[in-house]
């Protein structure tokens, strides 16, 4: 499953990573090498094997439906690159 330049651009777009045009070819080569190495997994017989999603038994945890934290707007906004009127501020979304 070779990754071409178009696929690299598509994956970068999905990952919200801006790539300079010069970065595409070397990244495609790197990804192909890594994915080629990973491809050895296809030879493993996994017929009838259930995928492992967690190594520990997860039990549903219950708690009282009460407020334990809150009233921390200033803390939440303290690291915001831009904030206004108690909100996170972002560049204009609607033209």
């Amino acid at each position: 499953m070779a990754v071409d330049h178009e696929m690299v651009a598509r994956v970068a777009r999905l990952a919200r990573l801006r790539l300079a045009p010069a970065e595409v070819a070397p990244l495609a080569a790197e990804l192909n090498r890594i994915l080629g190495w990973i491809d050895q997994l296809q030879a493993v017989d996994t017929e009838g094997v259930a995928p492992l999603e967690t190594v520990i038994p997860i039990t549903r945890a219950w708690r009282e439906d009460v407020v334990t934290e809150g009233d921390c707007q200033a803390d939440l906004l303290a690291n915001a690159p831009a904030a206004a009127h108690g909100f996170f501020a972002v560049p204009k979304v609607i033209e």
Binding site: L35, L41, V49
Partner: protein, 493 residues
Amino acid sequence: MSDLTALSVAEMREGLAARAFSAAELVSAHVAAAEAARPLNLFITETFDRAMDAARAADAALAAGTAGPLSGIPIGIKDLFATKGVRTTAASRILGDFTPPYESTVTAKLQAAGAVSLGKLNLDEFAMGSSNETSAFGPVVSPVRAQGSEAPLVPGGSSGGSAAAVAARVVAAATGTDTGGSIRQPAAFCGVAGIKPTYGRCSRWGIIAFASSLDQAGVFARSVRDCALLLEAMAGFDPRDSTSIDAPVPRWAQQLSGDLRGRRVGIPREYRVEGMDPGLEALWEQGAAWLRDAGAEIVEVSLPHTAQALPTYYILAPAEASSNLARYDGVRYGLRVVPEGGGLADMYEATRAAGFGAEVRRRIMIGTYVLSAGYYDAYYRKAQKVRALIARDFAEAFAACDVLLTPTAPTGAFPLGARNADPIAMYLNDVFTVPSSLAGLPAMSVPAGADSAGLPLGLQLIGRPLDEGLVLDAAYALEARAPKLPAPASWWR
């Protein structure tokens, strides 16, 4: 008072209790050592003033009889743990100015036990690396050097700053995190002990996420007993982490005996790999002989899917990382880059391109690819199935033995820059540590000897789920028989 930095945690506790020295003297000696070790680039953020305040508070608690089990003990914190009011970067530009308004559970527990942090230790960016060279704050230089050489070596990674700070006698112990070997491999490279407990033993709450099904906190120290003492303070159930295990935390340090009579130690034959240092193979056999001397029976076992563990890991870990790192978008915290006249989508893309380093970008790309439509079953689902086989291998091996003995890493430390050109060559460092990570098992590296250049080599012990006790005890038996490695010569002073 400079010899205070040579003490073990256990000796520091005795000295503080007997008033042989104060916590302020102890911490101040370590601050001086940390200042002298700045050429090693161990810390991303130093908190020496806070440390001295905490040391004076520890002295007051010691005097009042209210001291905790680690009161006054100087430690370092890997800069992946959120620390309230202290910058926390994950060694990434994207979090370069992030100051958490909350404290991670593990560091809060250490604080409650009285431990004194000297600051936030360097690591690979978002813990993605095996040499500490992907840090946006520059690489850590190992305190360890080859005999007769001044070439700078890597400390291993990703918890490179933690391992190096403990080895350099800058702190008595340090926290780390381990996703595929990030505690055990740097412990081996720097000649210190390091334990990754069972997945779920330590809370992940407040640890910046890399691969959530694998990430686990652990600790470095210069002895097995010290690791046990620290881990007792760090472990325990946390309702704020849905994968935290609700099990009592044993008194591991008290239970150390080094007596392995009636125990079976398994040697997995698939861990004999090409390219292994010949001295390492001999050391591994020597390690088995030491454990036999401690009373254990040595048995050969098989872990048939060992070779598939690394490719499995390099699907699952990047997949989880690409999801976890989606949160860094320039909106709520961290770096924001807005191109001239750009909108929201431009901001996301420019922020992430500028904020993440090459290895992190590479893993996000791989993770996004293997999770994308049309490839999910072939890669991600397949890897989860192979992960099930790897976990089953361990379960079957533990029917025939109680603990496994393997090398920690295929070689000793390598020079800075030596393996940067080839990502796969770098990934191969973790060939012995990744399988137990995928199975969520407790595992520990203990210094066992040195290679022909005098570089430390570690042996790894892997236990059953929640059996940190036997992992520590077998490591303790090895430590008692292995030659003591000399402390690194303080060439940086």
